[in-house]
Amino acid sequence: MYMLSLVFLAYVICTIYSITIKPRFDDALKHGFVLFGYLVGGVYITAWIIYLLPELF
């Protein structure tokens, strides 16, 4: 639940940021989802790298 609440916060920030910069509503929703994907995906991959690196060396 703790992680989920952070993910929800990330979604809110991405969506509202997109709504403020895109003039079309549909574009804004898509842009928000893409941003959210990059953010969560980036954090997820970074976390895995940090977790795996000590195992490699």
């Binding site: 703790y2 916060l9 809110v12 920030i13 509202i16 910069i21 895109k22 003039p23 509503f25």
Partner: protein, 161 residues
């Protein structure tokens, strides 16, 4: 020295109170309300729902609702309380209502205390962003946005019309 441009173009006989001050005031007091007032329903509803959930999650998670406190704590504590309160004021009526009806200190032992506090501050800051965007939206709708200040892609705006 270059002469500064006005932030609102072609003002004419526009009623500033009705066209600008009302929507911005409503948007400040109820996040998303300003967009609903200028009949941008989809945006308004989405902003309203997201910021409502965000702020009331903060309250339900027993996060700290910051109020400016100048009497106790170190100077660092005082600075943080002032900055965080300034951010939370963006929640408008939700913030003032929660100061009256909710225990603002939060529940420190709860594991959601930190996240709850961050939720409250983020919701307030996001509403400030929404207000700036609302001001731009009103100016653009009425053709009052000076070209030099229009940062978005003009083709997209033409398509949106």
């Amino acid at each position: 020295m270059k002469k500064s441009e006005p932030i609102i173009e072609n003002l004419g006989n526009t009623d500033i109170l009705k066209e600008f001050v009302f929507p911005l005031a409503i948007g400040f007091l109820i996040p998303g309300g300003g967009h609903l007032f200028i009949k941008d329903k989809k945006r308004g509803m989405l902003i309203f729902i997201l910021l409502f959930i965000t702020f009331f999650s903060a309250v339900l998670m027993n996060g700290k609702i910051y109020t400016p406190s100048l009497n106790d704590g170190t100077s660092w504590d005082k600075m943080v309380s002032i900055l965080a309160s300034a951010a939370e004021i963006g929640n408008g009526l939700y913030y003032f209502g929660s100061i009256i009806f909710v225990d603002v200190a939060g529940d420190l032992p709860s594991i959601y205390y930190e996240v709850g506090s961050v939720y409250g501050i983020t919701a307030g800051l996001l509403n400030f962003l929404v207000l700036f965007s609302l001001f731009d939206l009103i100016r653009r709708k009425k053709g009052m946005l000076p070209e030099s200040l229009d940062t978005s892609d003009n083709k997209e705006i033409e398509a949106a019309k």
